[in-house]
Amino acid sequence: MDINFESFVEWDNNPFILFSSQGKILYLNNAAEILFGYVSKKELYNITLSYAPQNFGYKTTTLSLSYDSFIFYAITVGYENEEQISLRLYNAPRIQASQKLETDKFITTDINILLEANIALFQTKNKNILNLLADQDLPDFKIDQNNFSKLLRKTLDAFRASDSIDISLKLLIGQHVMIENKRISIVELSIIANGRYADTDNEIRALADKSQIKCLLKEHMIKLEVPLVQ
């Protein structure tokens, strides 16, 4: 029997890429397509070559790789001829949220208003210039307004001494999070500047965790992935 595995690979949640010997992409699955929004082809090809087995075959290496919010704990590189080489990255498991979201207590909110109010609050204390790029058509969704406001305040405060602060708010197309067995869209708020304070990172994490918001704290950036609970 001839089995076609391609669609299984296509819809695998772990990124899979097939390169030619010149580093051209011959095939990539859905997960890899999203990943390429955050990492260059060249970088992944270099990794593929670095971790390739010495002879024809497959080699799995445990390592820690992270691109933006994607974290991988291992990769498998394999080749059976001189023309094609494959890279498969294994998603690190996301930490299960410790608290249950009490969505019935949440109030439907226009996130843009909350964000603007927090920016106004930030501007009462700081003279920094903010550039805001927001999607005004984001649907209203349910959130704990008070907790989320605290999170926004702390997040913005981390940039109190930064220059050129860029804030963007957008829907992450094609990405979802599962909350109580429901597929829920994600809104991403990202704040990028030339630097930031990290003194309240733990508080930011705790507040984010409370609303099941995934937060990514980097040296120049904070990203919040907010579940769009309807």
Binding site: L114, A117, A120, L121, T124, Q145, N146, N147, S149, K150
Partner: protein
């Protein structure tokens, strides 16, 4: 509706932020020195919201159970703010000082700082005009006849001291000998006691006399002639009253 006048950028941002969150269920607090207009601002933004004072813990607790929207003034006076539950309520609090920073940080989503009057020169001018009008109407003085640019302004206690300095200055303008005597009379009636009363209260007369005289005549020599006392006596009195 009551208006709130300000040219301060900082306060404009506070107003903007409040206007945006007016319909949301979030907790906010305005912190700033006494008499800077915190309560007036809260009232201006939320004219129909019930208001309670932190002086009375029980009253605050009861109001929290009853209303979804509440102004809590004098928040720093609450003896047990830990026990308050602001979940899904619209709370606007005002406080004269921060107090327990961690607690405030935990309880409130929006923490605003009200700048003191000394940082808001244009607001001072506006308020001064407002108080002068009020004082003129109360004291029945014709506004046209006074020069308000010379009023010395005291901003140490923000609006309170500003208002007081305007009123005092205008009262002074309208005072003649009988009123001045009457004021000293009332003052002495209240404060006279002990066994050195004459010397203690002499300053009430001598200090302004010498200060004004020096300002008017410049030199001690000239002033002693105008006052008709010996130059050494004048010098002694200047020393006694610590006049520079």
């Amino acid at each position: 509706m009551e208006t709130f006048f300000t040219t301060s950028d900082q306060i404009q941002h506070i107003i903007k932020s409040f206007n945006l969150t007016k319909t949301l269920f979030v907790s906010s607090i305005i912190i700033g020195e006494a008499h800077t207009g915190k309560k007036t601002l809260a009232r201006y933004l939320f004219p129909d919201t019930p208001l309670v004072s932190g002086i009375n813990d029980e009253e605050v607790k009861e109001a929290l159970e009853k209303y979804d929207e509440l102004i809590i003034a004098d928040f720093e006076k609450l003896s047990n703010p830990n026990s308050l539950n602001f979940n899904n309520k619209r709370i606007i609090a005002t406080a004269n000082y921060l107090g327990n920073a961690t607690l405030i940080d935990d309880l409130f989503a929006f923490i605003y700082t009200m700048p003191p009057l000394k940082d808001r020169p244009e607001d001072v001018n506006y308020l001064k005009t407002l108080f002068v009008r009020e004082a003129c109407s109360t004291l029945m003085i014709d506004e046209e006849t006074i020069d308000i640019s010379n009023i010395p302004l005291n901003l140490t206690m923000n609006n309170k001291s500003l208002k007081k300095s305007v009123f005092l200055d205008l009262v002074k303008l309208s005072m003649e000998t009988p009123e001045i005597e009457n004021i000293i009379y009332q003052y002495i009636l209240k404060h006279l006691d002990g066994n050195d009363g004459y010397r203690e209260h002499l300053g009430l007369y001598e200090r302004p006399l010498i200060k004004a005289g020096l300002k008017k005549y410049g030199s001690q020599l000239q002033l002693s002639q105008v006052l008709g006392i010996n130059r050494n006596t004048l010098r002694k009195k200047i020393y006694e009253h610590h006049i520079d």
